[in-house]
Structure formats: structure tokens, C-alpha cells
């Protein structure tokens, strides 16, 4: 099968999955107790039954469930995710405004975790009983055991309170001058701690995984062949062995992506990062259902895209997958 065919197939599956997610989200949220009328009434300081019914009628909440579902799904098909009663803005606009911040956090932390994790894993595999290997073992224990919010708070205490190096939260300084470059630096400066926090769990996972798969690959005949050619150890490790060890890493990184997205919600809350997580938290508290569903929809969309990309990367790494 060619790459085009594979891609078409995956995109097809992705679309079906996306529709399923949409229906499930809508059903779950409708079934959950409380709706936007309750929330509005709460803000008004209480309202009687007639007012409540009026609100529900205005937002179409009195219609039969299936009709509401149909109306929602057909709107989403044209990329209209509804209107947020809480923010008084179309949900799509709202999300597109917050999405870049989350994607920045998620992708930068994943890139950090994958590169540093892989490097540590390879170094650990070179000397399975050496210092780096011990560090990797310790780090992975810590990374697995420590909840993200806790390690985030710990980092804030260390690098904001005790050593005031980094800002406590937010994405950019309140007063900002200078051009594009100065702003980019400012954002990177704010990004550092949340990125490290979110990366810590995955760094542990990836370094562990790389170490294990490298150790397996290093016993292979082709590694011996590489040495018999006269290749330097660095090349043997980083070229011949590593490329063969990347398969499991890429697979796991792809699968973990949805977990990273949900981890981002917590990290955003801890560092007051103005992304989808913060938005999600606020809309849940406000029972702003269109926004919540919109965020869930976008998150699933991103996860599906990442999974397709994972498949493609795997095929690029391993020619055996390409021809099977």
C-alpha cells in the first residue's frame, strides 16, 4: 500500500472517530445534571420556574435530545461549535485563541521529553551499570511517582520563591515592549517551568523505554557487523542501534499524546498558563457546555492528527512496516 492510500484510510478512520467522539460528548454532557439555565439562574441570584423555562427555550434546551444532537452535529460539520453564553463569543473563536498556547506547551514539552529522554536512554544503555543509568532509574521512579501538580508547585517553590529566576505564571510579561524576537524570548522565559513540569513524567518514561530497547538492539548481529566494519562506538550507538530502537519510543509517544493533553490541563492551572486547560476549567465551573464540548472536540482532533503522524513517522523509520 502506498503512503497516499494509507493516509486516506487513516483520515477516514479519524473522521468516523471524530463523529463518535462528538456524539458521545454531547450525550454525556446532556445526561450530566445541571445545565446552562442553572448556571445563569445562579448568577441572577435565583429564578423561578417560568424564567428557567424561558431560558431553556431560548437556548433550545427544551427540544428532544435527538433533535438537539442533530442540530449540534450538523453545525459542527461546518466548523461552528456554537456560542459561549459565558464568554459571549463564538466557541470556535474562543478555542482558536487559546489553542496556540496549549499546543506550544504540549509540543515543546514533548520535544524536550523525547530528545532528552532518548539521549539519557542511549547514555544509560552504553553503561548499563554506570552513573547515568542510575540517574535514569532514579529519575524515572521520581517522574512516575510525582503527580504533575506537585512537581509543578515544587519547581515554583525552588525557582520562583527561593531562587527567583523564573516568573510564577502566565505566558507573557504585563508590560511588553520590543519586536517579535523580544516577545518570543519573553514567552520562552515564561514557558520554561510549565514545559519542564509537563515533560518530567514523559522524560522518565522515554528514557526508560529507550534504555530498554537500546539494550535489546545492542545484542543484535547487525550491531556486531557495524563494529566489525570499524565504525566508532558513537556511530554504532547513535546511528545503527538508535534508529532501530526508535520504533517503541515513537509508538508510545504517539499513544501518550492524549495523556499529555490532559496533563497540560493540570499544568496550565498550576502555572496560570492561558491555554485550553484553563479555559476548560473555567467553562466547567460555569457549566458552559458549548465551550466544554468544543474543547473536547478540538483535543480529540489534535490527538487523532498526532496518531496519524505517528503512523507515518513509524513507516519512515522502519522500511519493514512500509512494505508489509
Amino acid at each position: 500500500m502506498g503512503l497516499g492510500q494509507i493516509l486516506a484510510k487513516r483520515v477516514g478512520y479519524g473522521l468516523v472517530l471524530l463523529i463518535a467522539v462528538l456524539i458521545l460528548n454531547f450525550t454525556l454532557i446532556t445526561v450530566a445534571p445541571g445545565d446552562v439555565a442553572d448556571s445563569i439562574a445562579g448568577d441572577m441570584g435565583g429564578a423561578d420556574a417560568t424564567v428557567m423555562a424561558e431560558i431553556r427555550e431560548r437556548y433550545g434546551l427544551d427540544k428532544p435530545f435527538l433533535l438537539q444532537l442533530w442540530a449540534y452535529v450538523s453545525k459542527v460539520a461546518f466548523l461552528d461549535l456554537g456560542y459561549s453564553y459565558f464568554y459571549n463569543t463564538p466557541v470556535t473563536t474562543l478555542i482558536l485563541e487559546k489553542l496556540p498556547a496549549t499546543l506550544l506547551l504540549v509540543f515543546s514539552s514533548q520535544i524536550l521529553a523525547i530528545t532528552v529522554g532518548t539521549l539519557l536512554g542511549v547514555m544509560a544503555a552504553r553503561k548499563p551499570n554506570g552513573f547515568v543509568s542510575m540517574c535514569v532509574t532514579f529519575l524515572s521512579l521520581f517522574g512516575f511517582a510525582a503527580p504533575v501538580f506537585w512537581s509543578g508547585i515544587l519547581l515554583i517553590i525552588a525557582f520562583v520563591s527561593i531562587f527567583p529566576i523564573f516568573p510564577v505564571g502566565g505566558m507573557s510579561s504585563a508590560i511588553m515592549e520590543g519586536g517579535f524576537f523580544a516577545r518570543a524570548v519573553d514567552i520562552a522565559y515564561h514557558l520554561f517551568l510549565p514545559m519542564v513540569t509537563l515533560a518530567s513524567i514523559y522524560l522518565a518514561l522515554y528514557s526508560r523505554l529507550t534504555r530498554a530497547s537500546m539494550l535489546e538492539v545492542l545484542g543484535s548481529d547487525y550491531v556486531r557487523t557495524a563494529r566489525a566494519k570499524g565504525l566508532a562506538e558513537n556511530k554504532v550507538f547513535y546511528k545503527h542501534a538508535l534508529k532501530n530502537s526508535l520504533g517503541p519510543l515513537v509508538t508510545v509517544a504517539g499513544l501518550q499524546f492524549s495523556a499529555v493533553m490532559s496533563g497540560a490541563v493540570v499544568v496550565e492551572a498550576v502555572f496560570n498558563w492561558p491555554g485550553l486547560g484553563t479555559l476548560a476549567l473555567q467553562s466547567i465551573l460555569a457549566r458552559d457546555t458549548p465551550t466544554i464540548m468544543g474543547i473536547l472536540f478540538f483535543s480529540s482532533f489534535v490527538v487523532i492528527i498526532v496518531n496519524i503522524v505517528t503512523d507515518i513517522v513509524l513507516r519512515l523509520i522502519d522500511p519493514r512496516i512500509r512494505s508489509s
Binding site: 543484535s220 548481529d221 547487525y222 556486531r224 557487523t225 557495524a226 563494529r227 566489525a228 566494519k229 570499524g230 565504525l231 566508532a232 545503527h240 534508529k243 532501530n244 523509520i317 522502519d318 522500511p319 519493514r320 512494505s323
Partner: protein, 331 residues
């Protein structure tokens, strides 16, 4: 002797530290290979054939293995304890190696052309294009059809025989002075085996590369090799010119090995109606006694065999055997 040996192994001792104790996997091995010569090393699995090859390449897995003493000389260069950087310039350049398992010895994620070209670029100061051209040329030399197209193939797209040809192409790509072939045909079909042996023979005729052929195929030894060394339990028990050793084996183990071959007529007396076998198994290297390691399986054993380990001695000019019985018959 017309010329000094190209590759010369002298009193090589390799020990492996295992939980069961120290295992002497190579016990005072001495071998010489001259330019343009094929030396065959035969013996059962675990007798130290492959370890001899790995020692020459400096690839003895360490830990647990270690070259305890002895010398390996390529020309005037001593390879034992050589600086790793210098040794790397010899690996692949001066000494090429082909391994037993063509199915797994090539890296699955690089094309065969890339893998051959990598060797060339490593040892010769040539650009990517020239290296690729050499790779194609080598594939052609090992008689792979459509070498230009095959250079872009991944190992899994080739058959076992093809992969072994690629391995040979890779090992010979820098025109090494010595080629070590460690059971190059064990994993292949019989017909393909014959092709690979023919190929090795032809390439050797063309290039004059010395070949160390490790095998347990006595037929291949008879056909290809000039000299042969028979190994048992980490020792060389008999060595000499192939014609001589195969027609007049002095060591009972060599006699047994020859008798095990169904169609070999070099020693008609050894062929009985039943296919012969050597009873028993190779002893564990961790509990070798003081006597001859082959004594428990030997049909000609005498008292001395159980107490003293025999050393190689000359039964004929350029023919040595390590056997008390053979020695007794001489005197």
C-alpha cells in the same frame, strides 16, 4: 616457507568469566595464514571457532571475555592490546568479516547500498557518490543481478543467499588483506551454499585475499581450503595441509569428523555402511580435567590420555596433531 604469514596467531588464550568458574574458550591457539591462502577451521559448535574469529577482530565480548595472553599479528602489527582507534582502522579495512547469520547481520533500517557505502566512506577518502558507485560495483562483483536497483533494497527485501552476498560485498568493499568467513553458509540452502563457496573461491582467485574459513562442513574444507585446523574444546587438535590431513588424519577426532561426512572419499577406510558419529558431547569448558579433553569420547584412548593433556607435535612436516596415540605410533 616462501613468504612470512600475513596473519599470525600465536599462543592465543581467551578466558570467559562465568558463574560456573573460569572457562578457557581458547587455549594456546596458533595459526598462520599466508597471502592468497585459505585456512579452514573446523570443529563442533562451541569449540572456539567463532571466538578465534572475534579475537582477531578484537570483538571478544568484554566482559565476560578477555584475551589473557598470546599475540595476533597482521603483517608486522600486533593486534592484541592495540589502541581501539588504530584497531578500528584495521577492522573492515585490512580484515573483513562475514558472519553466520545473513538474516540478522544486516541492519534492517538502512538500504544495502548505504551499508556497503558506509564501509567505503569510513576507510577511504571518497565522497558519497563514489562510495555508492563502489557499492554497486561490489554488488555486481558478488553476482547480484540488477545491482543498481538492488543497492536501494532493504535487507528484508532480499533472500538469505542474497543477503550473504551483500555481506561478502560489504566485507570486501575496502579490499581487505584478510577475509574471515564465520560459517558463511550455515543458514543457507545447500544449493545456495555451493554458490556462496564458488563465489568466495572466485573472488579469492581475483583478489588474492587470504581467507579464514570457519565451518563445520568438511566437504567445503576439502574443496576450498589450502590448510586446515581442527579445533576441539578451545584447542587446536590437528592442523596441516588439507590434502594430507584429510587423507591421513592423525587425531581420532579428525578421523571421526571425516567419518561423519557421508560422501567424502578422501578416506575410504573410514566409510562404513552406517553413517558414523562421534559418541558423547563436547565437555563444559569450566570443568575440563587435566587429561585430553577428547578422551571421554575417544575410541583409541590410552591411560596417559586421562592424566596428561597432549600438545601439538609434528607427525609429518607441516602436519601436527595433539594426540598421545598418534605420538606413540610415531616413536
Amino acid at each position: 616457507m616462501t613468504a612470512g604469514p600475513l596473519l599470525s596467531v600465536t599462543d592465543l588464550v581467551v578466558d570467559f568469566k562465568t558463574r560456573a568458574g573460569n572457562a578457557r574458550v581458547l587455549d594456546h591457539i596458533s595459526l598462520d595464514v599466508k597471502e592468497g591462502e585459505i585456512l579452514g577451521i573446523v570443529g563442533e559448535s562451541g569449540c572456539g571457532k567463532s571466538m578465534t574469529a572475534l579475537s582477531i577482530m578484537g570483538l571478544v565480548p568484554n566482559p565476560p571475555g578477555k584475551i589473557t595472553s598470546g599475540s595476533i599479528k597482521l603483517g608486522d602489527q600486533e593486534l592484541v592490546d592495540m589502541d581501539i582507534e588504530a584497531l578500528r582502522k584495521i577492522r573492515g579495512k585490512e580484515i573483513g568479516m562475514i558472519f553466520q547469520e545473513p538474516m540478522t547481520s544486516l541492519n534492517p533500517v538502512f538500504t544495502v547500498g548505504e551499508q556497503i557505502a558506509e564501509s567505503v566512506r569510513l576507510h577511504e577518502n571518497v565522497g558519497a557518490k563514489a562510495a555508492h558507485a563502489r557499492a554497486v560495483e561490489m554488488l555486481k562483483a558478488v553476482e547480484i543481478p540488477e545491482p543498481e536497483a538492488r543497492a536501494h533494497a532493504y535487507p528484508h527485501q532480499l533472500s538469505g543467499g542474497m543477503r550473504q552476498r551483500v555481506m561478502i560485498a560489504m566485507a570486501l568493499s575496502c579490499r581487505p588483506r584478510v577475509l574471515i568467513a564465520d560459517e558463511p553458509t550455515t543458514a543457507l540452502d545447500t544449493t545456495v551454499q555451493a554458490q556462496i563457496f564458488d563465489l568466495l573461491q572466485n573472488l579469492q582467485d581475483e583478489t588474492g585475499t587470504a581467507i579464514v574459513l570457519i565451518t563445520h562442513d568438511m566437504g567445503a574444507i576439502a574443496e576450498l581450503a589450502d590448510t586446515v585446523a581442527v579445533m576441539y574444546a578451545g584447542k587446536i587438535v590437528e592442523k596441516g595441509k588439507v590434502d594430507r590431513v584429510l587423507s591421513h588424519p592423525d587425531h581420532p577426532y579428525t578421523k571421526g569428523l571425516i567419518a561423519c561426512v557421508p560422501h567424502l572419499s578422501a578416506n575410504p577406510a573410514a566409510i562404513s555402511e552406517r553413517l558414523m558419529e562421534i559418541p558423547g558431547v563436547v565437555p563444559a569448558l569450566t570443568d575440563l580435567g587435566t587429561g585430553c579433553a577428547f578422551a571421554p569420547r575417544c575410541s583409541e584412548v590410552i591411560t596417559k590420555c586421562r592424566t596428561d593433556s597432549p600438545r601439538l607435535f609434528e607427525t609429518q612436516p607441516e602436519h601436527k596433531a595433539a594426540c598421545w596415540v598418534a605420538q606413540k605410533e610415531m616413536t
